[in-house]
């Protein structure tokens, strides 16, 4: 029974008001194991809270020093999110306590329902403590591992390896054993045994209130099993690979850093030497290529249209008109166009041919189409045209 006189709300208000100072005391206790009286004096020099700290039973004296009581320590650590990892050996003790309570529960005479009820409740409480411890451990380990991965404290790579190995050997592997349902001596398998027993009793125990208690215990154990399985999965699927990874990476980096200190000191891995080099060997080609690549300055490539590259042809109408006039009258206008262009150019584009055809529309020319409708072929670079025979003469 607590003999605190103050109202719970008063205590909580005090905790809120002086949270920073109390958190400082907690840090000190974490570091030194106790709160030295000098440290307490220093904290209380700003605001003297010593009286309330003892009155609300937040701290207790240990010889000449002080410590924060367990219940407050757990509560504060929980809300700060800075919980201490429990050694798996400590968690393992629950195997014994649960086994003991289970045995007592099994061998309680059915008519002693009062003590049986107490034992069932007690067993459930013990399981609750166990799950809280496991939960705290996995979460704290995960948090610490992630911090180690990010190297928040900028510790040396070899230190990281040591820390990772330590966690694996002393925390993660043993905790995993505790949670391994396939190991007959694990806490998880013991809980499975209890749940099997409770399941049976919740159905056939003669006394109804006790049956209901078994029912409650069974349902709780189902939840706990799921929870422990989840933690086991976190350990094996997330934490172990992450920490193994830290270990491997840190080891490699540590080695590389050591190597870079004196790169010529170490015998590097053996590699085969290229043997005799023939001039027709493929490697000679590559070596030469590499050599030239070093001196090769690549220039910008500018793309230009072909038409732009060659000189643009401009139709000189007056010149062709004058030539045409000299030839008038003409029996076949298109034949003349074709011959004229062939004479002048090696290759005749359709554009030139059509340009020359425009002379037909001159005002001072009379056009006469062949009545028989005879046609002839005119070839250009792009196409062949079937054109009519057109006779032209001066007006």
């Amino acid at each position: 029974m607590s003999n605190i006189q103050a109202e719970p709300k008063t205590i909580l208000r005090f905790l809120v008001q002086h949270f920073d100072a109390i958190a400082e005391l907690l840090q000190e206790q974490r570091k030194e194991g106790v709160i030295k009286v000098e440290f307490l004096n220093k904290v209380c020099a700003v605001t003297d809270i010593r009286l309330q700290l003892t009155e609300y039973r937040i701290i207790s004296s240990v010889k000449s020093d002080y410590e924060i009581r367990k219940v407050y320590e757990d509560f504060l650590s929980f809300i700060i999110g800075d919980q201490r990892i429990t050694l798996p050996e400590t968690i393992e003790k629950y195997h014994d306590s649960i086994t003991k309570l289970f045995l007592q529960m099994q061998y309680t005479a059915p008519e002693d329902t009062a003590i049986l009820g107490e034992r069932i409740t007690e067993l459930q409480e013990e399981v609750k403590h166990l799950t809280e411890n496991v939960d705290r451990n996995t979460n704290t380990l995960l948090k610490e591992t992630r911090e180690l991965k990010a190297n928040v404290e900028r510790i040396d790579y070899l230190e990281k390896v040591k820390k990772a190995c330590f966690w694996i050997d002393y925390y993660i592997v043993p905790l995993n054993k505790i949670l391994d349902i396939n190991k007959f001596d694990s806490v998880a398998s013991k809980l499975y045994e209890v749940s099997f027993f409770a399941n049976e009793k919740r159905l056939n125990f003669p006394d109804e209130p006790t049956r209901l208690k078994y029912e409650k215990l069974y349902e709780y154990l189902i939840l706990v099993n799921d929870e422990l399985l989840r933690h086991s999965k976190i350990l094996t699927h997330e934490l172990m690979p992450l920490i193994e990874r830290i270990k491997t990476e840190s080891l490699i980096l540590s080695g590389f850093i050591q190597f870079l200190k004196k790169p010529n000191k170490y015998d590097t891995p053996l590699l085969l030497k290229d043997k005799r080099v023939y001039i027709y060997n493929k490697n000679v080609y590559f070596n030469t290529l590499e050599y030239f690549e070093q001196f090769y300055n690549q220039e910008d490539v500018v793309y230009e249209d072909n038409a732009a590259a060659s000189e643009k042809w401009v139709f000189n109408m007056d010149r062709y008109k004058a030539t045409l006039r000299k030839k008038l009258p003409l029996e076949n206008f298109f034949e003349w166009c074709s011959k004229e262009l062939d004479y002048e150019f090696k290759e005749v584009e359709s554009e030139k041919f059509f340009s020359l055809c425009t002379l037909l529309f001159e005002d001072d020319i009379k056009i006469e189409v062949d009545e028989a409708g005879k046609r002839q072929r005119v070839h250009t670079m792009e196409a062949t045209y079937m054109v009519p025979r057109i006779k032209i003469e001066k007006i």
Partner: protein, 190 residues
Amino acid sequence: MSSSYPKEHKMIVKDLLDGKFILSNDTKYEIIRQFEAYYSEFFQESFEYKMILKSDFVYLISNDSNENLSRDISIFLAVLCYELDKDGRNFLDSLNFNEFEHEQIDQYFENTSYKDVIQSNKQLRDKPARINFYNTLARRNIIEKSGDDRFLFTPAYKVFVEFAQEIAKSKSAGDEEVTGGSKEPDYSMN
């Protein structure tokens, strides 16, 4: 009597004698694995070369080693891994899966605190030298080019990473002398 030789025998011998790593995704690798005893003996008896066959690759070693190239690769990987880690990247994942751009590596190498080591190495000191170096790595199948200015590492990088692990282990054991090259590697890492 060509029928008495394994398939692709000529290319297998040629590639390995050229100092190449034959990777597990190459059909030649399976043939070597199938005729492991034969090839081991063949290279030992013919050239006194030791064949190292691993789950990811196979290559030859001899006491007459290409020490310079091995040292250059070790320095290159050491600086790259250090910079990747400093950059907050998972360097083993990067070596396993990521594509590296020359420009990105240039940046790392220009700004590294190991610049003195880089500067004093002919193969790594500047961009043109490194392009030459990449070509050498590609020829040996240590990297695989995925473009003109990008590449991926092949599993052959593990030889050098394992070498770093050996150094670290001997350092933590208080042993200063490391003879990583003389020992047959043990690729036990993930």
